[in-house]
Symmetry: C2
Subunit: 545 residues, 2 copies
């Protein structure tokens, strides 16, 4: 039997558009004589539709669209994910389309409600396995999480009889290195049930999430037979061939797609796709960002150019009296190297006018943190003004390390529409810069930018290291505290310096309000800020007592 | 048996502080010869602690604090809510403290995972009822949601034997009118089980939520015997007296506390408490807001003065060439009437300088929406500068109607720390203004402010009605679309004008990104923006096709 995995980029809420894309993929699959065509979890409406699922008319529209897809594509068997309203409840379901109608429905049984997932907010768990007969194969249909608890799955499928294939439709979001875990799940599942597994994942960016595709087939020995592209649409086709009662082979039609070269490449591609999709799916053509001549804005610009095309990116440099000649030169050099648009607007006269206008305020002067933040807010205001004027999306340039400790000005450098690298630790920003230079084969991001000690340039001689520990150390503490939920005591016991640990934890805790008010960005770590990590703003608990 | 409900204002994460407050209440209850003292759900750590619950050391600290409370308060029986780590799982539990130790633990069985609740993200459901013997009474312990499904509760308590009292500890957040539903639940529960019900609710503000207290006792006929204060701490004491096998009486020690006079008064008190607690619990003494002479900022100022004291509120008026003499006069009048601080800083010279600096931008002029937004952003920048300079919290002044349709400037008038009235529809803002004048017994908010057609004053002669439908109509549509999840078709069928319905729905959908980036404010309706209503930013679904 010939199976095709239609790994496609669904847009949340675009029911007609998603159906149209699926019809085109179906037409292509027909040409390859496919028997069974599989689309990802909630392919009809995109993932996650969140509280759209509370609208009855939305669920009705999804149902109508699935029925139309069935009647438009009557040949062969199609499996497609959709949100189903059934007997006063909602389910995360897979429709089996055969002969022009919905012939069967499988309802997802394991509903993740952790991390970025809120599925128990919306769905009831299904309770019945569904095994369909296609060609001469018995195929068990499962959805995403269902195969992540293999012991549970064994019980669930226990009475379902002999199965030659487990089919899994997923919307499994990316984080760095997760692919290893995911492929192990697929391989273990194949081995345990001694059957082929075909795994069809979503691809594309949706707000904070990127789905990385990489759909795959494993044979009954647990060998990964073939993999689809990463971070791109793909149609992955293979023949599933039972060999006696004992084994099920997988024979791919084409050689496997090339995969990301390493973890940094993977993150780079996730950021490119996440930025492109956030921009385009929200109706923007072009993006705008502040170019300071520092590493964060240089990397953000490079990735934006890769995502949107250099002709669709504009860098704006906004020097003040505290900007050095070196950083101004580097900002221009980065723009030139990337061949993006470039504008210069000095903030100095505006800063001077604000300073004059604020003189009547008791105690106001041009020394303190208010005056430093003012500079960042003038820049934010200029960027947002140009955004309104030109209709461009503003990309902010803060990384995860500074977002974590609040080393940013609220409504200043955090002002924009998309915070591309907000989940990228500073030490990884450097690796991305090197990666950009490597894949372009030239020094797009100048060595000076890579080597100069980071500075916000909001007062004379300022350096990040005045306020923050060394980034290698900072990122180690942040990983332990944020991603692993360790206490100060545990971090100190693991060998990290006590005074720095306590200082960093206090900074992280104190700045929840700033993070809550910063734009979405691409999740690339196991725990990102945003819906992945939900802490109260009002909170007196300290993990470093 | 004498029972006391310790309705107190817990601070999230302040384990030591909460325990200290409970010890003081315990000392007071001892003087009244109380046998059983009850504290609210998760009283030890405050509600909701959100992802603090993912920290093992947090759960350990909570346990330690409960054990300390038990040994500090060995007389009598205490019931206190705490998050419990038990056998690799977490539970929302009630500890029964007797003779200096934890004698029993009840684990909440029904875990709400809708609206503002995410309890299935954190907790496993308990499966065993707990009935304790205190004095001569059998008392079933329940937690919040457990009594909201009375049929389920009947089965759950089915084998528990004869019960004279059901005790419920809650953290039930406020919305307008919810008290009616809540008291009906309590009364029905008492009638169905023919027993007394004592209901102990949390009080206080926590980020978007306000807990309104109003703990109560019902007797076995379902009569509400007494109620605690609304929006304030209270210690409500009553004797529970079984009368034969047939009935359980409740004899309160004092006459019931006065309750809010109507729904508007209720909302007013919720906003006062929510604002006071957000400010104080986050370490601020004083607040700052822009005073435009319009109704929204006037009401916000009046409520801030009531919450924090007039001496702790500063109004800042920031006129431009588009500000009318009338609104400038009214801004000053409101400040004077409220006796709050008042400052004037003209934005005109700064606006002119921005305009000059932006001249090199192709096509820039002082006519379009960018120029209008610029004015709001200059004001936001001035407010945030003063916030940094003085250490005051900035209150934004946007109401629910304009927040819904995006009639606001992102990083302009949405810039601040707390959006007090973001869940208050414009039509209710007017009622609050009248309420303020009523309870102060004078025209604190001048008649002119109440009667003048609303305007953002960002261009000559601008009026809200240029861009928006009449607020009576707008608020009807918003209630149907947002709170009731109705489609355009349903709204039109209910008699609302089709063109306006479609326009409003499109505006609401298009502005999700702005709402996501606006500060938290007090939930006062059944569905507030924020964690109560979670929609994707990237979303092409339209409820008005």
């Amino acid at each position: 039997m010939r199976v095709a995995l239609g790994q496609f980029n669904a847009v949340v809420g675009d029911l007609a558009g998603n159906a149209e894309r699926m019809r085109r993929i179906w037409a292509g699959a027909l040409e390859s004589d496919v028997d069974l065509l599989v689309f990802p979890e909630l392919a009809v409406c995109g993932y996650p539709p969140e509280d759209l699922l509370h609208k009855k008319h939305f669920l009705q529209d999804c149902r109508t669209m699935v029925e139309k897809l069935a009647s438009d594509c009557p040949d062969k068997t199609i499996i497609v994910g959709f949100p189903e309203s059934y007997q006063e409840n909602s389910f995360d379901s897979a429709a089996v389309l055969q002969a022009g109608r919905i012939s069967k429905i499988y309802r997802k049984a394991l509903l993740p409600n952790y991390g970025v997932f809120d599925e128990q907010r919306y769905f009831q768990p299904g309770t019945e396995p569904v095994v369909i007969k296609t060609g001469d194969l018995n195929v068990a249909v499962t959805i995403c999480e269902d195969i992540w608890d293999i012991k549970w799955l064994g019980n669930f499928l226990g009475d379902a009889g002999k199965i030659q294939m487990i089919l899994n439709i997923s919307a499994s979001p990316f984080h760095m290195g997760k692919i290893k875990q995911r492929q192990e799940i697929v391989r273990n599942c194949a081995k345990k049930f001694n059957c082929a597994v075909c795994y069809c994942n979503l691809v594309g960016g949706q707000d904070e999430l990127v789905f990385d595709g990489r759909s795959c087939f494993a044979d009954s020995t647990g060998k990964m037979a073939t993999k689809a592209r990463a971070f791109e649409e793909d149609l992955l086709i293979a023949d599933i061939v039972p060999v006696g009662e004992e084994a099920v082979q997988v024979r791919p039609l084409e050689s496997p797609a090339p995969q990301p070269s390493d973890l940094v490449d993977e993150v780079y591609q996730a950021l490119v796709l996440g930025t492109r999709d956030y921009t385009r799916k929200n109706g923007f053509e072009k993006a705008l960002l502040g170019l300071s001549g520092g590493i964060d804005s240089s990397v953000t610009a490079a990735i934006a150019a890769a995502a949107l095309g250099a002709e669709n990116v504009v860098g704006l440099t906004m020097p003040s009296k505290f900007s050095s000649a070196e950083t101004m030169t580097d900002a221009a050099r980065v723009a030139k190297n990337l061949d993006i648009g470039f504008l210069t607007i000095s903030i100095e006269p505006i800063l001077e006018q604000f300073n004059r206008s604020l003189q009547p305020v008791p105690g106001w002067d041009d020394k303190g943190v208010a005056y430093e933040n003012l500079q960042a807010r003038i820049r934010g205001t200029i960027l947002m003004s140009l955004s309104n004027h030109f209709g461009f999306l503003v990309l902010t340039t803060g990384n995860k390390s500074e977002t974590a400790v609040g080393y940013a000005t609220l409504y200043g450098d955090t002002a924009g529409g998309f915070a591309m690298i907000k989940d990228v630790p500073k030490t990884l920003v450097y690796k991305l810069a090197e990666h950009v230079n490597k894949i372009t084969g030239r020094q797009v991001i100048p060595a000076d930018v890579l080597n100069r000690p980071p500075s916000a340039e909001l007062r004379p001689g300022q350096k990040d290291s005045d306020a923050l520990p060394d980034y290698d150390l900072l990122d180690k503490i942040l990983k332990g505290y944020i991603e692993e939920d360790k206490s100060a005591q545990q971090l100190v016991e693991s060998g990290l310096p006590q005074d720095v640990v306590h200082k960093v934890i206090r900074m992280v805790d104190r700045n929840e309000y700033k993070r809550r008010l910063s734009p979405p960005g691409v999740k690339i770590t196991p725990k990102a800020f945003g819906k992945d990590r939900r802490l109260p703003i009002t909170n007196r608990y300290s993990s470093s007592p």
